[in-house]
């Protein structure tokens, strides 16, 4: 691990000031906020991340989970994943989020990992994690060996000729279906970013993963007031039953009225270069009868534009079945 200077800013403003002069907030950042450490310390041990300064934000007052006046929920950036998943309101009103978080990592890691850290979780692509290999995300212009190499677990949505790395988060998939908003405080003030606009597609710049700039500190996430009577399911399919990343997952938030789908939000995990909301599946289902045939049709619509790699064509059918089953489970719920 490379050496670094460790400091503990007294408040968010001090943290933002200390990070504002960094060259980038993206891959290779010379200043990093340190929260749970489950991604950052891991990548620092691999020399994938080599920050010169670490700013410990664990003791900033950003770890609360609070009801909002409009009925929504405000989730602090450093609220631990286990606290969020086990929060009474999350379990009652946003159960897809609780299910998603509890399907990820291990109990120990969930006790450490934070809301904002999970939002910024890095890909598990083996080439990204191995500094002996080229990787456009880690070293722009060095190439992407995954495209002709080991890509069984990698993305079928949102890829480019420069990067096909999967976003590994479960939490983000549920937040996409819940239409969460990410709140950022930066050198220029505060801004609120819909979760769909936080992560960037790799395109020609896979080293840029989010819209965050130097000094930008995620302070909290808000969830809109819950859809009354919504049925929520997170279904995750993977190589082993627990403590494994998704090969395909589906988050469903659905309301039924008289046997028809009156409201539905759908997002997929394990298949996209970012958490993958599926407006195609949503519009295929809107107003339709909650039937097995329509669920399958929505899944067909969701995967229509999937682009498989050499080893992961199976993900297309897997993701279809995953979404179909998640919709059916929600309908039965």
């Amino acid at each position: 691990m490379h050496t670094f200077e460790f400091t503990r800013p007294a408040d968010p403003a001090a943290a933002i000031n200390a990070a504002a002069h960094a060259k980038t907030a993206q891959q290779g950042a010379d200043v990093r906020f340190l929260a749970g450490g489950t991604t950052l310390i891991d990548l620092m041990k691999l020399s994938v991340e080599t920050p010169a300064r670490l700013l410990d934000i664990n003791r900033l007052p950003l770890d609360t989970i609070e009801d909002m006046p409009d009925g929504g929920l405000k989730i602090g950036a450093t609220a631990r994943n286990s606290d969020l998943a086990n929060h009474a309101r999350v379990q009652r009103d946003y159960s897809v989020l609780s299910q998603a978080i509890l399907s990820g990592a291990s109990a120990q890691l969930r006790n450490m990992a934070t809301t904002a850290g999970n939002l910024l979780q890095r890909t598990r692509c083996v080439y990204f994690r191995d500094t002996a290999m080229p990787c456009n995300k880690r070293e722009p212009g060095s190439g992407c060996p995954a495209i002709t190499g080991s890509n069984r677990t990698l993305a079928i949505f949102g890829t480019s000729e420069h990067c096909i790395a999967t976003n590994p988060s479960d939490m983000c998939v549920a937040m996409a279906a819940l239409e969460a908003v990410i709140h950022v405080q930066g050198p220029q003030g505060t801004r609120a970013i819909p979760i769909g606009d936080v992560h960037l597609l790799p395109g020609n710049t896979p080293h840029r993963e989010t819209v965050l700039e130097p000094g930008d500190l995620i302070t909290h996430v808000t969830l809109p007031s819950p859809k009354q009577g919504s049925r929520q399911v997170y279904l995750k399919l993977r190589d082993r039953a627990s403590f494994e990343f998704a090969l395909a997952s589906a988050a469903v938030v659905m309301n039924l009225a008289g046997g028809n789908v009156s409201y539905v939000r759908i997002a997929l995990g394990g298949v996209g270069t970012k958490p993958w909301r599926s407006p195609e599946a949503e519009s295929a289902l809107a107003g339709k009868a909650a039937s097995a045939a329509n669920f399958r049709q929505a899944a067909e619509a969701a995967l229509r534009n999937a682009k498989p790699q050499s080893e992961n064509k199976f993900k297309i059918e897997l993701a279809k079945r995953c979404l179909t089953h998640a919709l059916q489970t929600a309908a039965n719920g």
């Binding site: 291990s106 120990q108 450490m112």
Partner: protein, 176 residues
């Protein structure tokens, strides 16, 4: 009693640099109720600090990347993997290791249950398993074996003692 930590020891897994000594910082760790004031390289993980500086070697290093659970300890009563946490981050926190649970003469009920159920073979993962199992007792966990297995999935046992580990945990839960 204060212990002085040699920073060159902590960096053997990484790139030891001459600047390490200049960067050494002070941290106070409360481990098993005892305070340790240490001078450490900021890169030192809680795991390395516990094992090499405080010399409590019951906590084991397996993968060193948060994937095996051998290094599980409690911080303020919650289980974490100590390999992915910098020692500095834990300044002043209450840390419990396997040495803080019980003694051979007065074992924690979970330690006694592991012994009674033969819940280990080589023993390398066992302290991590027991630290996880003790934390699980205070977590939201359904009554059946499947719930226990799910919440214990962060602790890998390559001898495959899983069935007996679940038995040991259930034995303690039923008595509670």
């Amino acid at each position: 009693m204060a212990t002085i930590f040699d920073p060159t020891v902590s960096t053997r897994a990484g790139r030891a640099e001459n600047s390490a000594n200049e960067l050494a910082v002070t941290v106070t760790l409360r481990i098993n109720g005892k305070e340790h004031s240490l001078r450490i390289d900021p890169r030192t993980t809680l795991l390395d600090c516990i094992r090499e500086s405080v010399e409590l070697t019951g906590t084991k290093k397996g993968c060193d990347h948060g994937q095996c659970g051998a290094c599980t300890v409690h911080v303020n009563g919650r289980r974490v993997v100590s390999c992915l946490s910098l020692a500095l981050v834990n300044d002043g926190e209450e840390i419990t290791t396997i040495e803080g649970l019980g003694t051979p003469a007065a074992m924690h009920p979970m330690q006694a249950a592991f012994l009674a159920c033969d819940a280990y073979q080589c023993g390398y993962c066992t302290s991590g398993q027991i630290m996880s199992a003790v934390a699980l007792l205070n977590e939201s966990c359904g009554p059946d074996d499947a719930a226990v297995k799910e919440l214990m999935s962060g602790n890998i046992c390559r001898c495959g003692a899983y069935a007996n580990i679940v038995d040991a945990i259930q034995q303690v839960r039923k008595r509670a």
